[in-house]
Symmetry: C2
Subunit: 603 residues, 2 copies
C-alpha cells in the first residue's frame, strides 16, 4: 500500500503537468533554455521521510530561494543584533529588485534583492575570502548533501546583473555594505546559481520547519531562533505583494525563485519543494503555487489552524497508594506508605512539551499540593521540550521547592535531549533529584515517606522461617522439618545468587540483607527484604526467568526441591498450605498489576 | 503555590505600571477622560483557565479590536466567497483610516476602517434591523458573557465620525456597501463602543486561538475556517505598518484599539487581553505592547516556533501475540492465535492528531502490512483530530481496505468528538468496524483469525471435569469424588450467576456456553469458555470481587467450598494439586499482565 500522501502528490503531479500557463524566465540566456515541461515535487516530514514525484531529482538554480537560508546563516554568523540593525523586516510594497530603501536607509527586508545583498555583505565581513564556501556548505547542510554551482548561470548573472550592482553601491553609500562591493556581489551571484533539486529544497524547508534541525541528517544547521525568524520574514515578505493573500489562502510560509523553484515550510509538520520553470506575472512558479494551494486546501493545512488539547499531555496522575515501586516492603513499611500516600504524587507526561502544556501541568500540580509533598514528574514518553516549555518548567520546579515540596524528575538521563534543553534552567535549583527510571524515583519517594514516619525495619537480624510469607500457617513441626532440610547461604553485596536460564532446583528464604530481581539488561523487576522468598516459581516447575543479585551482604535459607518433594509427600497438608500461600501471593501481585494496567490504559 | 504564569503576569503588571509614556486618545472627549493609570491584564488558556492581574475587570470600549471578531462573524454569516470578493487581505501600507481602496476598488483588508465598515455592511445585508444585536450577542459569545454599549462614546463617535462617513459613501459609490449607508455607519459606531474588560478580550482571543470554540463556555462561536482566517489578517495587517516587525519580534497575531486594549492570540496555546489607555504614535497601547513583548521574549513564544515530534503520537504498536483480549480461549484457539498473530496489528494513538501525525501513522501501518491484516487503531487517548488529520485518515482507511486489509477503529463512540470530526470522511467506506472498547476490538480480531484457521471449538457438549484447567493431573477417583459433591447448574443467557460483594462459598466449572466477568460498571474483565473455572478465588477465601453473567445458555458444575474442604482433608494430595494448578494459572495471568504493563510503559 502506498501512503496516501504519496498518492496525493502523484495525482497533483499528473493533474498540474497539463497546465502549460506561465513563461520561463528569459532575462539571461541560460535560464531561458529550461525545459518548460520539467515538473518535480519533494515533500519532507519532520521525522525525515521524503516523498517524491516527477522530476524531483533534476537540478536547477536556487535563485531567490537562497535568500531565506542565507538570512538564517547571517543570523547565525553575526547574531540577531548585527543583522536586525542593518536589515528591516517590513513588507516593501515594491518589486523584489527595487533600489528604494526605508526612511532610515535600510533594505525593507531580507527577501528583496537589497536585503539579500546586505546579508551577503554581513557574512563577507565575518568570513572574508571563505564567505562563499561557508554559504555553499551551509546550503548543503540544509539539503543534507554537497551542492554544486551552475557556472554558466553564474557567469551570465554576473555579466548582466547591473541593477544588482546599482543596489549594492547604494547600500555601500549608506554604510550597509561596508567594503569590497564587487566581492559581495560575486558572493550573491554565486549563491543564486547553486544547484538544487525539488527534493533538496523540500529537505531545506523541512529543516526550517523542524527548528533548524535537518530531519534527514539530524544535524542542527541553525538555531531555533534563526529558523523561526526566517519563517517570519517568509510569512510577511516571502511572496512579495502577494504575501497577505498567501498567508490568508495557503497559510504556509514560502519563498520562490526565478529558476522555477518554491520552498514552503509548515512548522513542525513538513517542508515542500517544487520545481517547474514556467513563472506567473509575479515571478512565481505556476505549478509550484498550484501544488502548495492543493496541499493546503485538500488537507486544510494552515499555519494558524492549530487544535491541540493541552490536557492530553498528562497520561497518568496518581500517588503511591495506587502504584508502588518494585521494592517489596515489610508489612509495617507498607502500612506507613498506605497511611501517608498523599505525600507523594506521580504525574506521567507524554508527547512534546510546550509552553501551553507546561502551563497546564503547573496548575495541575498546584491543585492538591501539600507542604512536604514529593512530586514526581515522569518524562519517559516525552521526546522533547520547547525552549519556552523548559523555561516555564524551570520556574515551576523552583516554585515547588519554595513551597516546601520536593520535585523529582524521572525518566531523564544526562544525555537525553529533554534534559539537555532543561539543564540550563535547573542550574539555580538545588535539592532537585533526577532518576533515569520512574521505578527508582518512586522507590526513593517511598523511602522518604517511610523515613518521615518511623524509619526502616532493621534488616540485619536473621528473620525466622515462620515469619516468611510463603510459610504462613505452618505448624512448628513443619517449620522445624523444613529447616532441617534447608541450607544456610551467605552472599556478599554485588554477588549473583540466581542466574537467568538456569534450571530451578531450589527456593530461597531471605533472612537478612536485601536482594534485587533483575533482567539481564539490568532492569529491576523487584527487590526483596527479609521475610520474603525468591526463586519461588521453582515450585511450579518454571526455570529461572531472571537474575537475583545481593544488594547488601545477604543471608538466606536455600530449600532444595528434592528435599521439599519428600516433605510434601510425607506432609501433604503442609504442601497444600505452601501452594495456597503461593497462590495468594500471586493473586496479590496480579491485583496490583491489573490496577497499574487500568491506570495506564484509562488515564 | 501560585502557578508561575500568575507570578509572571503580576510582575509584568507592577514593572510596566511605572511606564507613563504615551498619551490617551483625545479625538473625542469621552475617550480623553480615561485614567492613564488604569492597567489590566487577562490571559486565557485553551483549556479555559483565566489568569488576571491589575484592573482586569475595568470596562473600556473595544474600538478597533472589534474589527477582527466582526470579520469572523461576517465570514460565518455570509460565507467566505461573499466576504472575500468584497474585501482584500493585503496590508495597505496606509493609515488605518485611509480612504484609499485597492486598484479594483475593494478595502485593502478588514483591519482598516474601510474593511471594517464593509464587514458591517455585509452583515447588515443579511441580518437587517437585527444586525447590531447579532454583532453585540456574537461579541458576547466570544467573551462568554453579555456585553453592554457605552452610549456616551457611541454618541460622541457618531457625532464626530465624518471621515468614516466619507469612507462609507466611497464604498457605497463602488458598490461594496450596498444600501442604507447611515444604518451601516450606525452599526459600526455602536460596535466600536461595546464595553469589554481585559479579561473579556483574553477570552475572546483564546476563542480564536482555540479554533473558534470559547474555551470557558465550550460554545462553538465561529468555524475553524473563520478563526484561522481571522488570525491570518491579524498576522498580516493587525498592527498596521508595524505588522512585519510584530510577526518578527513578537510572533503572536494581535489587534489593538484606541480605547487602550489589545487582543493577542497564540493558536492552540492562549489568548491575551491587556487594557491600558496611553497609546504610542501608531495608536497602540504602550503597556499592552510591552506585556505582549515580555510574554513572547521571556517564554520564547512565537507562532512559528513549533517543535512537536510526530512520532510521539504512537504510544504502543503490537499484535495479539503480545496482548490478547480478555476472552479466555481454548488451548487450540490459543494455538491458532499464536501461529497467526501477525495477521493482527494494534496501534494505540495518543494526543491531538494532526495532518503530520496521521501522515506518520499512515507510513507506520504501511510498513509490515500484509494482505488480510486486521489493523486496529485505538483512539481512547485521542481528545481530538484536526480537519486535516481527519481527511488524511479517511484516505488511509480507504487505502487499507483497497489493499485487502481490515481497518478497525477502537475507543470511539458515536458521540465522541473525534468520531464526529471523522464521520464525514468515513461515509464512503464500507466494511469499517468501530468498537467503543479496545478489548472488544481485539476480541473481534482474534475471532476473525480463529475463523480463518479452523473455526471455533464447539461449546454445546458438556465438557468433562477432567478437562478443566484447575483439575489438571487429578486421578479418575478424585474427579469422580469431586463430581459426586458438585451440583449441575443451568442458567439462561443474560442471567447473573455471581454477584459482586457476595460471600464466596463455591467454585464453578463451566461445561457449556460462555460467561463474562464484569465490574458493576459493565466493564468486562474476562470471558470464559467451557473447560475453564470461575469464582475460583473462593479457594483463597476472597469474597466475590465482580459479577459473572451468562452470555449464552450455560451449564456448569458448582462445587461448594464445604464439600471441597472435606475432600481436601481426606485427599490432601488432591488439594495440593488444585492449589498448584491455581498458582500456575495465576502465574500465567501475571506474566501476561506484566507484558502489557511493559508495553504500555515503554512504548
Amino acid at each position: 500500500m502506498q501512503p496516501p500522501l504519496q498518492r496525493f502528490l502523484t495525482e497533483c503531479h499528473s493533474r498540474f503537468a497539463d497546465d502549460h500557463s506561465g513563461a520561463v524566465a528569459d532575462y539571461i540566456p541560460e535560464l531561458s533554455k529550461a525545459d518548460p515541461a520539467l515538473f518535480g515535487i519533494g515533500l519532507c516530514t519532520t521525522d525525515g521521510y521524503v516523498y517524491e514525484a516527477g522530476d524531483s531529482a533534476v537540478p536547477f538554480t536556487i535563485q531567490s530561494i537562497s535568500k531565506a537560508f542565507v538570512f538564517a546563516l547571517a543570523l547565525e554568523t553575526r547574531g540577531a543584533e548585527a543583522v536586525e540593525s542593518k536589515i528591516g523586516v517590513e513588507p516593501s510594497g515594491e518589486a523584489f529588485n527595487s533600489i528604494r530603501l526605508t526612511a532610515d536607509n535600510k533594505p525593507f527586508n531580507p527577501m528583496v534583492n537589497a536585503g539579500a545583498i546586505a546579508c551577503s555583505g554581513l557574512i563577507r565581513e565575518a568570513a572574508g575570502a571563505d564567505s562563499f564556501d561557508l554559504i555553499q556548505s551551509t546550503l548543503g547542510r540544509f539539503a543534507g548533501r554537497t551542492l554544486d554551482v551552475d557556472e554558466a548561470v553564474y557567469y551570465s548573472e554576473s555579466a548582466t546583473g547591473h541593477r544588482n550592482r546599482a543596489i549594492a553601491w547604494m547600500l555601500h553609500n549608506h554604510g550597509v555594505v561596508k567594503a569590497d562591493v564587487d566581492g559581495v556581489l560575486d558572493i550573491y551571484f554565486r549563491q543564486c546559481a547553486v544547484l538544487v533539486t525539488a527534493r533538496d529544497i523540500a529537505v531545506m524547508a523541512a529543516t526550517l520547519a523542524n527548528s533548524g534541525i535537518n530531519p534527514v541528517t539530524g544535524e542542527a544547521v541553525v538555531s531555533p531562533y534563526a529558523a523561526a525568524r526566517t519563517l517570519s520574514v517568509m510569512t510577511s515578505s516571502g511572496m512579495y505583494d502577494y504575501a497577505g493573500e498567501w498567508i490568508y489562502r495557503v497559510g504556509i510560509p514560502a519563498k520562490s525563485g526565478v529558476g522555477g523553484g518554491i520552498a514552503a515550510a509548515l512548522p513542525a509538520q513538513l517542508g515542500l519543494g517544487v520545481f517547474s520553470p514556467p513563472l506567473d506575472d509575479h515571478g512565481n512558479t505556476v505549478r509550484g503555487l498550484k501544488v502548495c494551494e492543493a496541499l493546503s486546501s485538500h488537507f486544510n493545512l494552515h499555519v494558524l489552524s492549530r487544535t491541540d488539547d493541552v490536557r492530553s499531555c498528562v497520561i497518568a496522575d496518581y500517588d503511591i497508594a495506587s502504584v508502588t515501586s518494585r521494592r517489596s516492603r515489610q508489612p509495617q513499611e507498607r502500612q506507613i506508605i498506605l497511611e501517608n500516600h498523599s505525600e507523594t504524587r506521580v504525574v506521567e507526561l507524554v508527547g512534546a512539551l510546550t509552553f501551553a502544556t507546561i502551563e497546564y501541568v503547573s496548575r495541575r500540580v498546584t491543585t492538591g499540593l501539600t507542604p512536604d509533598q514529593l512530586v514526581i514528574l515522569d518524562f519517559r514518553r516525552v521526546p522533547m521540550i520547547t525552549a519556552a516549555g523548559a523555561r516555564l518548567l524551570g520556574e515551576v520546579l523552583g516554585d515547588l521547592i519554595a513551597a516546601g515540596a520536593t520535585p523529582i524528575l524521572a525518566g531523564l538521563s544526562d544525555t537525553s535531549p529533554v534534559y539537555q534543553t532543561l539543564a540550563p534552567r535547573l542550574a539555580d535549583i538545588s535539592r532537585l533529584r533526577k532518576f533515569p527510571a520512574l521505578d527508582d524515583a518512586v522507590e526513593w519517594a517511598e523511602d522518604q515517606v517511610i523515613y518521615r514516619y518511623g524509619g526502616f525495619v532493621r534488616v540485619n537480624d536473621p528473620t525466622p522461617l515462620d515469619a516468611q510469607a510463603l510459610l504462613t500457617g505452618m505448624s512448628p513441626e513443619e517449620i522445624a522439618e523444613l529447616s532441617s532440610i534447608a541450607f544456610v547461604r551467605q552472599y556478599a553485596a554485588g554477588e549473583r545468587i540466581i542466574r537467568a536460564g538456569d534450571p530451578s532446583e531450589s527456593v530461597f528464604f531471605l533472612q537478612s540483607g536485601m536482594v534485587s530481581v533483575k533482567l539481564p539488561s539490568g532492569v529491576r523487576l523487584a527487590s526483596m527484604v527479609p521475610g520474603m522468598e525468591f526463586g519461588e516459581m521453582a515450585l511450579l516447575g518454571s526455570p529461572r526467568s531472571a537474575d537475583v543479585w545481593a544488594d547488601t551482604a545477604v543471608q538466606c535459607l536455600e530449600l532444595p526441591l528434592s528435599g521439599y518433594d519428600l516433605l510434601r509427600q510425607q506432609r501433604p497438608q503442609a504442601g497444600e498450605q505452601i501452594m495456597r500461600n503461593l497462590a495468594a501471593l500471586l493473586a496479590r501481585r496480579l491485583l496490583q498489576t491489573n490496577a497499574k494496567v487500568d491506570l495506564l490504559r484509562n488515564s
